[in-house]
């Protein structure tokens, strides 16, 4: 579990993030808002990669579904109230995850990864060619649920803290311990009587709905969605965030998202080949910090 040192660091970090709007700096609010959304997205994937042992490349699809559903509801039906749109968008992402997960979980190991990738690509090409959804140009979110930037920022902050707390409790609950057992030895769990596919599907749907929440917040923050949200690049990036931060730690992927956002922002100012910088950092972390950035916060082993 999380060391007391890491806990203190996380609590201070969360407080610092909560104080940012007081500075009134629009750029940092937008930047950190985006980074926190990345944190929610990465933590939701960590539930699968780090705890259930499922490497999914479909995760961007659920982020994209949450975002597109908000754009669609707002554009076509002039719906914006958060109390209405947020549950619909998360449920939509969950429904997508139920279908894709149900089909993908019939395959195991590397085939599972391939099938999830194939589904993401299908959705990408579908949205690219569907004029009703704006085609390759994407859609504007005509009416935003939270158009005030300070309100949008705090909504993201609250979502980040709530998702972290929710996942932490979930993972300590019997359900989470069963997932950890499946990651360790799925065959043994099945022969102990656990319907392991159903547990994995439940985790997949839960993670998908939280990714949908991240997508929803993203569409609200930027007021714009396009098919690139569904690309395999986005799925790969969030997977990289999880590994960079330290899979199976929950707070690690959230820190990883912040770090990646900073790298990207600094990198872009230095060179147009900023992805190469990110690549180098990821390689360095994988080679020298096998437990990711989160590993830095843990006490060194004696």
């Amino acid at each position: 579990m999380i060391s007391s040192r890491a806990r203190l660091f996380l609590a201070l970090g969360a407080l610092a993030l909560a104080a940012v709007p007081a500075s009134g700096d629009r750029f940092w609010m937008q930047f950190l808002g985006k980074a926190m959304i990345g944190g929610i997205f990465a933590m939701s994937l960590d539930l699968l990669v780090g705890f259930a042992g499922l490497v999914s490349l479909a995760h961007a699809a659920f982020f994209g579904l949450g975002a597109y559903l908000l754009a669609g509801l707002s554009n076509r039906y002039q719906l914006a109230q958060m109390a209405l749109t947020l549950p619909i968008c998360m449920a939509g992402a969950a429904a997508g995850a139920l279908i894709i997960g149900w089909l993908s979980l019939r395959a195991a190991g590397v085939y599972f990864i391939m099938v999830t990738l194939a589904f993401t690509q299908m959705l990408y090409y579908f949205l690219n060619d569907a004029p009703w959804f704006g085609g390759s140009d994407g859609l504007y979110v005509a009416l935003r649920p939270l158009s005030n930037p300070i309100a949008a920022y705090y909504a993201i902050w609250i979502a980040l803290v709530a998702v972290f707390a929710f996942l932490l409790l979930l993972l300590r609950s019997p359900f989470g311990r069963v997932l950890i057992g499946i990651r360790g030895n799925e065959q043994r769990m099945r022969s102990l009587g656990f319907p392991t596919r159903q547990y994995l599907l439940a985790a997949f749907v839960l993670a998908g709905s939280l990714a949908g929440l991240a997508g929803y917040l993203d569409a609200n923050l930027y007021g714009f969605v396009n098919p690139a949200l569904f690309g395999w690049r986005e799925s790969g990036l969030v997977l990289m965030t999880v590994l960079l931060g330290g899979k199976g730690t929950l707070h690690g992927p959230a820190l990883g998202a912040l770090l990646l956002a900073l790298l990207q922002q600094q990198g872009e100012r230095l060179t147009e080949h900023w992805t190469a910088i990110i690549g180098a950092v990821v390689i360095a972390v994988v080679l020298f910090l096998p437990r990711g950035v989160a590993g830095l916060l843990e006490a060194r082993r004696a």
């Binding site: 609950s173 019997p174 360790g184 030895n185 065959q187 099945r190 102990l192």
Partner: protein, 244 residues
Amino acid sequence: MPEALLETRDLSRRFGALAAVDGVSLSFAEGRVHAVIGPNGAGKSTFLNLLSGELRATSGRVFFRGQELTRATPDRISRLGIARSYQSANVFAELSCGECVWLASHSRARTLVFPSARVAERARRALATCGLAERAGVRARQLSYGEQRQLEIGMILATDPQIFLLDEPLAGLGHDEAQRIVALLQELARRHTIVLVEHDMDAVFSIADTITVLVDGRVLESGAPDFIRQSERVREAYLGSDAP
């Protein structure tokens, strides 16, 4: 004859041209220890895999309390009360002993979110019975091999099964470790039905009520220990002259 708890009818499993299990009809009586012995490659593990649902039968059927299980999945078979251990220790290496038995016990719980006191109590008792109460906090992979085998029995005990399918529980153990497991099996045998696949003939003849000899996937002989001991065919095919 006591009632048959578990029964196979003409059960077969082929791997390509090889008939690993070939027309086996056996009946396992409630409350008894029924050993299945035979040389390496006789099909003993394959037979257990057919009973536990980890392999599909090529033909034939399996019944548990009269209910057909031939195509049931391993998790359903387990939930019906048929527990399985493996030829090499199959525990959760990264979890503590306490967590391993807790997971096994939790497989019988209906709760997903809230921990149940009954589950914890059943896990605690199973760990005590298998002799690892003091090792609850130790990671499974840090246990000795003998302790891992004990833990494995503790885990299936925690699922509160009606019948144990044990695949060579003594394999790879030294004398003292083996003695501990034999004592544990004798304890279990007082209240449970056991199908015991084992190579250690001293142990088999001291625990089993019935013995079946499997050779090349077929039943060579089946009967009480004395009968098996005296069978010419069994001596020739398997036991040799050093039978106990």
